[in-house]
């Protein structure tokens, strides 16, 4: 059964420029551009120089052009999330002393960034994140451990074992995924109506 109110998913504070940081690393996807551009504008107002020490990693979105005109020193545009995350990993492998991290985009994008941050032992308070865009979920099949991406429906067919899974509200930061559990185990073939719920 779907239990309401997700207690295992972190709640993030909205993004805000923090010019006490010496470096600023921004990760964004799609509509996540808007909050990042908002932070960039805040930084420009507070300290124009800090933009020289700002780096943006971004998966577009139509908004890619806007970063170019925002006078940020270093903007990298990626074709997809995996490439961006790989680049993020490389950055984390170097020192992050004095760096402020800003993340903006759909919740599954933020989840993947946080998963990597966790692997590098970054405290969750060291990262600011703002969710915007699709609520589509990553679903970890508790039976075969495969992850099904971009799930918008209440039940979904597992890409690994092909069971129909109920999408639960239990979330793991370590796996960056919600739990999927076989929906018709007790009565084979008895599926609830398929509904789009995570839009």
């Amino acid at each position: 059964m779907l239990v309401t109110g997700i207690k295992s998913k972190p709640v993030y504070a909205p993004l805000q420029a923090d010019i006490r940081g010496r470096y600023h690393l921004m990760l964004g996807m799609g509509v996540g551009a808007a909050p990042l551009l908002r932070v960039i504008a805040e930084m420009r107002a507070a300290s124009e120089a800090s933009l020289k020490y700002t780096r943006v990693l971004y998966v577009p979105g139509a908004e890619a052009e806007q970063f170019k005109t925002a006078a940020v020193s270093d903007v990298q545009i990626f074709a997809g999330t995996p490439a961006l995350l790989e680049s993020f990993r490389q950055v984390l492998a170097q020192s992050l002393m004095g760096t402020r991290l800003y993340v903006a985009g759909p919740e599954s994008f933020i989840g993947l960034v946080m998963k990597i941050a966790l692997e590098f032992n970054l405290n969750k308070d060291e990262i600011r994140a703002e969710e915007c865009g699709s609520l589509a979920r990553r679903i970890y099949c508790i039976h075969c451990r495969a992850t099904t991406e971009e799930v918008r429906t209440n039940i979904v067919r597992c890409v690994g074992c092909e069971r129909w899974l109920l999408v639960r509200d239990h979330y793991s930061r370590r796996l960056a995924a919600y739990m999927g559990v076989m929906v018709d185990a007790e009565a084979p073939g008895e599926l609830p109506l398929l509904k789009e719920v995570f839009l």
């Binding site: 059964m1 239990v3 109110g5 997700i6 207690k7 295992s8 966790l118 405290n123 970890y140 508790i142 039976h143 451990r145 069971r163 639960r168 509200d169 239990h170 979330y171 793991s172 930061r173 370590r174 796996l175 739990m179 559990v181 076989m182 185990a185 007790e186 009565a187 084979p188």
Partner: protein, 347 residues
């Protein structure tokens, strides 16, 4: 009095598990009243009466050998049911020491432990284990210490690191659980892993329990009882294997409920560990069929009433929806409406 082991009992396939009359009499009924709701039911883990399940720190009963074999079966198929993050090694040794010290002290006829400095000699007679090793040297044991010792213990164990004002699940041996997954919950905080539990967050149960546990003191362990129901005496009701045990829930009728439906009680103990400052959570599972339970008239009346009036959110969360009515119908003839005395004593 030491229990006589029943090494051939099974918790799967032909389900030959059963309770002796003595095991029934000492069953830890979790209902002091005729109704049930979540509460912060934590009490000191003080030695209980002789022969009771709380007489010793860890209860070793007639199912010991069979339960250790069942654990080995699960682990052979699914190694990830045991997991430990690298920084938990010191708490693993702590945990091993706690269990070995307790078993050797409380059941000298079954276990012995000799220590000469770091040179330890452990003997487990029921499982025919005789092990010399160096405490603190993982290479001197055939497995990681927590893995090693919990294969020789009944019940699940979860070890939590304490930092940032929270408890973090970072090691565990979980093969006899009531529908939750160590693999999924690894790395979570106290409120994160309790996320799916209904009502209790709103009742402030978890706020208060966490505050209490963060102050848990060395040498002052605590315990609580929790319960659910399971079809057949199946220990491994993991979400991982739900496709295999889920169908059992649809097989219950008012005729077979007495033998199929089992009350599943967890005696949960919590200990502060000395070197690592971690907390170990032991979840010892007891199973009893409704037919066995009904041999105690007061218990039959009480469980009948608890089940009949259980809050709908708990019925749903505990997975009783399909068979609760059958269980209530099976118990009804045992309930003449006469009052029950307070507490869990058999009368």
């Amino acid at each position: 009095m030491s229990a006589v082991f029943k090494p051939h009992e099974t918790f799967r396939d032909d389900f030959t598990y059963a309770n002796s009359p003595q095991a029934i009499r000492r069953f830890p009924l979790p209902f002091p009243e005729d109704n049930y709701m979540y509460s912060v039911n934590i009490e000191p883990h003080m030695p209980g009466p002789a022969g009771s399940v709380t007489e010793f720190a860890f209860d070793v009963d007639e199912h010991y050998v069979a339960e250790c074999r069942e654990r080995a079966i699960v682990l052979a198929a699914e190694p990830l049911r045991y997991q430990a993050l690298p920084h938990m090694m010191s708490s693993q040794w702590d945990c091993m020491e706690l269990i070995m010290d307790s078993l050797a002290r409380d059941y000298p006829e079954h276990f012995s432990l000799a220590k000469q400095g770091n040179r330890w000699h452990w003997i487990n007679r029921p499982l025919e284990i005789d092990q010399h090793f160096t405490f603190g040297d993982a290479a001197s044991l055939p497995r990681e210490p927590l893995d090693y010792i919990t294969r020789q213990a009944q019940g699940d164990f979860v070890v939590m690191d304490q930092r940032e004002g929270d408890l973090w699940t970072e090691a565990g041996m979980v093969t006899t659980q009531a529908d939750w997954s160590l693999d999924f919950d690894m790395g979570m905080t106290f409120k994160e892993w309790h996320g799916p539990v209904p009502l209790a967050h709103e009742l402030q149960v978890f706020d208060r329990a966490l505050k209490f546990l963060l102050n848990l003191r060395l040498g002052a362990p605590v315990r609580r009882l929790n319960w659910t129901m399971t079809i057949n005496p199946r220990l491994d009701t993991s979400p991982e294997n739900y496709p295999f045990w889920g169908p059992d829930r649809a097989s219950v009728t008012a005729q077979n409920a007495g033998d199929r439906v089992h009350l599943r009680v967890e005696l949960q103990g919590l200990w502060r560990l000395p070197r690592s400052n971690a907390v170990v959570f032991g979840i010892r599972c007891y199973l009893i069929s409704l037919r066995e339970l009904a041999t105690v008239p007061k218990w039959a009346r009480r469980v009948h009433r608890v089940l009949r009036h259980l809050h709908p959110a708990l019925i749903d969360y505990k997975g009783l929806t399909r068979y609760r009515e059958a269980a209530v119908a099976w118990l009804a003839p045992f309930d003449d409406g006469s009052p029950t005395t307070p507490g869990t004593a058999s009368e």
